[in-house]
């Protein structure tokens, strides 16, 4: 998991309601209402798509 539960300035993050979402058929846990990109990265999913011509991976930028 790549979440930051404790932070020296922002303090502790109260965990929101957990929800299950499916990414390409695979279930992952996300926090209700959070950005999808954040949920993906929190679960180690970096590749959002492959390019049409060269089939290269692309992520957030």
């Amino acid at each position: 998991m790549n979440r930051i539960p404790n932070h020296p300035i922002l303090g502790e993050e109260k965990p929101g309601k957990e929800v299950q979402i499916f990414v390409d058929g695979r279930p992952i846990m996300a926090s209700e209402g959070e950005m999808i990109a954040a949920a993906l990265i929190a679960n180690g999913i970096w590749i959002n798509r492959y390019t049409a011509h060269k089939n290269k991976p692309r992520g957030i930028y």
Binding site: N2, R3, I4, P5, H7, P8, I9, L10, E13, E34, M35, A37, A38, I41, A42, W46, I47, N48, K56, P57, R58, G59, I60, Y61
Partner: protein, 373 residues
């Protein structure tokens, strides 16, 4: 179609400050922002701001944001969130896409564009790999979404954005392998640079990234030394293992709506490139259209707030809510404050550039007046 007296695009520090001034004067205001939360860049800025004390220096950006939101709530400013302004049509009509699902047209007597800026990217082989991202994107992930975008990060660019985000990555638990700077000197304010340096992060001046390696994700970067004319010095390449590359290579004003509206532009590299020409009331060259904040030149939240106030006061004045004499007195006070913000080594350059924009505006006005006569 919805009608309003004043529509403000962008609810960052500039837009919020403009809305507060105009609403306080009595104008009917509609504030529109594409995000689900107002505040623009402020809520990412968890560090204490620099500048003088009267300009909220020493206060964390996010707390300034909370304060602005409280004021705008108290005044009951109508705010559309998740509203993307996609066009400006003739007759001051804004095309807004709300909740990514439906279009709405807003007809406004006056418009303030306070859309902020966008990050610059630097292309090098491998720059499209997952793991290469803007420093601002990484900052949003760690400070807003509380998600760490990488564990071993290299930062390209040593300006304030680069060093502040590097420090915030450390706070969030990442390792910052190095900060690279293409110029022979570091770009950021000494306070920030010193903090990162004390934390043990190495700086490499006269260096850039030659390429990034990896199949599905960044795995390493090759860095290279640059000579005095910014040419890569062969044989100085070195490979560093990283999983994330952050680009802090400047910002460009988000000016599309101003172009669409037909505003005249000038090119001012110190302030980020092409900017709408504006006068000392933040009036663009188009009637009824004002600009404020990073769209009128990349500066700081503190200057963005002052420019927002100027735009808000003068738009309210044109709408008849503030007497011209009063608007002038208050504008002058704000200019005093802006001038003190734009001082020092970096500030003076911005101040000189701003003066050149105001002169261009005056030249244009007299040119058009001469044509009419």
């Amino acid at each position: 179609m919805i009608e309003t007296e004043l529509a403000i695009v962008g609810a960052g520090p500039a837009g919020l400050s403009a809305a507060i001034e105009a609403r306080r004067a009595g104008a009917e205001v509609l504030l529109i922002d594409e995000n689900s939360r107002p505040g623009g860049q402020l809520f990412k800025q968890i560090h204490k701001f620099f500048g003088s004390r009267s300009h909220k220096a020493g206060t964390r950006g996010m707390n300034i944001g909370t304060e602005l939101l409280r004021e705008s709530k108290e005044l009951g400013i109508q705010t559309w969130l998740n509203g993307e302004v996609c066009g400006i049509e003739e007759g001051h009509k804004l095309w807004v896409v709300r909740d990514r699902s439906r279009s709405e047209i807003v007809k406004a007597k006056k418009i303030i564009l306070s859309t902020g800026a966008t990050e610059n990217a630097v292309p090098f082989p491998g720059w499209e790999l997952p793991g290469v991202m803007g420093a601002g994107a990484a900052q949003t992930m760690i400070n807003v979404n509380r998600v760490l975008p990488g564990k071993k990060v290299i930062m390209l660019g040593s300006g304030n954005v680069g060093v502040i985000v590097a420090y915030q990555l450390l706070q969030a638990g990442a390792e910052v392998v190095a900060i690279l700077e293409a110029a022979p000197k570091l770009g950021g304010y000494g306070v920030h640079t010193a903090k990162v340096s004390r934390a043990g992060v190495p700086f490499y001046v006269s260096h850039t990234i030659k390429q990034a390696f990896g199949t599905d994700h960044v795995e390493a970067v090759e860095i290279v030394k640059l000579d005095d004319s910014f040419k890569k010095v062969p044989g100085t390449e070195r490979t560093l293992e990283v999983d994330t590359v952050c680009l802090a290579t400047g910002l460009t004003p988000l000016t599309e709506l101003a172009w669409l509206a037909g505003c005249k532009f000038c090119y001012v590299p110190v302030l980020g490139g092409h900017l709408p020409i504006h006068d000392d009331k933040m009036h663009s060259t188009q009637p009824d259209i004002f600009i404020a904040g990073d769209i009128s030149g990349i500066e700081e939240a503190s200057t963005a707030m002052e420019e927002g106030k100027l735009a808000g006061i003068n738009a309210a004045c044109e709408l008849g809510y503030i007497a011209p004499e009063e608007a002038e007195v208050r504008s002058r006070e704000i200019w005093d404050s802006l001038n003190s913000l734009r001082s020092g080594y970096f500030g003076q350059k911005r101040r000189d550039s701003k003066v050149s924009i105001l002169q261009k505006s005056e030249e244009l006005i007299s040119y058009f007046k001469a044509m009419i006569i």
